[in-house]
């Protein structure tokens, strides 16, 4: 590990990323461009989140990494091992004990605290891209607060499915100003975007960083007659019995028996302990 600087990235790079993070915190939801570096892992493996994590880590940190709520997937294990090696930081699977949590596609069930940082891996940072592929135009729309198109997307959803069918990456208005894509978290997690913790979003391939400061107002977009709902599968976790956590449906045996279990493995384990 001596061949790397602490947390892999060199100090000037970390400084550049920290500047982008601070700018992101100063303008909640605004996508700050940054010069994404090559990381020793392919895009799609959270290179944006990894760079944000690297820029935030200090030796005293205790790092948790989750993928779809689980600490034990290949992606989560690799990133955790990576930072244990290049930063020598302590790691944990316990949400309560972590000082920095890097996540792909979930927000932990256990409420976060003001001394924690949540880092999201973001594949597509631009919420307007679905209907407006031109980057010059989407930037102008953000600058001028022209967000009618976001509601066109939701309108299309209702017209086609009878209800807002967007169940992941559900767009939200941050601090009454910028609409952001919260990364592909289930919309069940959207209410948790209003959090005491610092939330940082890193998109490596697209070279964007954005942020939600603690206790910032985050409103999921909707219509008066089709209000936002933080929906999830009806049922209870087969392991811990939880009915209020986000549940994954899994095939339990060769006979095709289906059952639910908490997507947040730490939350489930804590309930069973």
């Amino acid at each position: 590990m001596t061949e790397y600087n602490f947390a892999y990235l060199d100090e000037p790079t970390k400084k550049m990323i920290r500047r982008a993070i601070l700018k992101g915190l100063a303008v909640p939801g605004y996508q700050v461009p940054f010069a994404s570096r090559e990381m020793p892992m392919p895009y799609g493996w959270g290179t944006g989140g990894v760079q944000v994590t690297a820029a935030c880590l200090v030796p005293e940190d205790r790092l948790k990494v989750i993928d779809q709520g689980a600490d034990d997937t290949t992606n989560a294990v690799s990133i955790r091992a990576f930072f244990a090696r290049v930063a020598g930081v302590a790691t944990t699977t316990r949400t309560r004990e972590a000082t920095l949590i890097q996540t792909r596609h979930r927000i932990p069930e256990t409420p976060l605290s003001p001394d924690q940082i949540l880092v999201y891996q973001v594949p597509i940072p631009e919420p307007l891209r679905f209907l407006e592929p031109r980057e010059t135009e989407t930037r102008r729309m953000h600058a001028l607060e022209e967000y009618g198109l976001m509601h066109v997307k939701l309108y299309e959803d209702i017209a086609r499915h009878g209800a807002i069918a967007t169940s992941y990456a559900y767009p939200a208005l941050v601090n009454g100003r910028h609409v952001l894509d919260p990364s592909p978290i289930p919309r069940f997690d959207n209410p948790k975007l209003e959090s005491p913790a610092i939330q940082l979003f890193g998109a490596g391939r697209e070279q964007r960083i954005y942020a939600i400061p603690p206790f910032t107002r985050v409103v999921s977009l909707d219509f008066e007659d089709h209000p936002f709902e933080a929906s999830k599968a009806e049922g209870a976790c087969a392991l811990c019995g939880a009915t209020t956590s986000y549940l994954d449906e899994i095939v339990a045996d060769d006979a095709g028996t289906r059952r639910f279990q908490c997507s947040d493995t730490d939350y489930c384990a804590e309930r069973r302990a």
Binding site: L131, G148, L149, A159, E224, D225
Partner: protein, 258 residues
Amino acid sequence: MNAETMSEAPLLSVRGLTKRYGGRIGCAEVDLDLWPGEVLGIVGESGSGKSTLLACLAGHLEADGGTARYDGRDVLTLPEPERRRLARTDWAFVHQHARDGLRMNVSAGGNVGERLMAGGARHYGDIRATAEDWLARVEIDPARIDDRPSQFSGGMQQRLQIARGLVTGPRLVLMDEPTGGLDVSVQARLLDLLRGLVRRMGLAAIVVTHDIGVVRLLADRLMVMKDGRVVEAGLTDRVLDDPQHGYTQLLVSSVLPT
């Protein structure tokens, strides 16, 4: 126009509008006044500057000189946020090619509803009801509200584009060859529809076309452009029945290439 409308101030007043493309003139020193509820036709062959003039007014091109006062403000120097707000509320633009004015991957209802949602409409049922009403007004079966424009004929796409623009009740509509590329029978139906909408809504409109038949049917007044300049202007009937300029005489006798 009656005496009452004549007594009002012009809705749009253009003076000395000039646009150059390098050393070449796009349009030069164009003056025009448009009163509320009036339709102004601009005719000329391609390269005459008529589309350049329209594009400058719409903000699609930046003019090199002149003023265009609308509601007492020069729209040519309006800050971009205000210009865009104007463009999606009080003005509408009808493109020659419907695909330039429509979102082809969004349903007809979403296309018509976009300007409402951009203006803050947040009730799905109301937006949909308004979209259905507008589809009917442009003679599209409201049952097709969830179809995409790609499933529509060229004439329907053009009518959908008109509904998308008029849904916010604009006062000024800019049209660039609105019937271009359509079959003759489809053109006639579209012109009838446009004439009815313009009259009923009291719209002011500028219609740019090379088609004398279009302006004969739609326009109260006519401007003839050649090589970037206005060569003749007047009441449509007068200009068409008694053209003064030699070029207009050629244009009316339809010997010019389009």
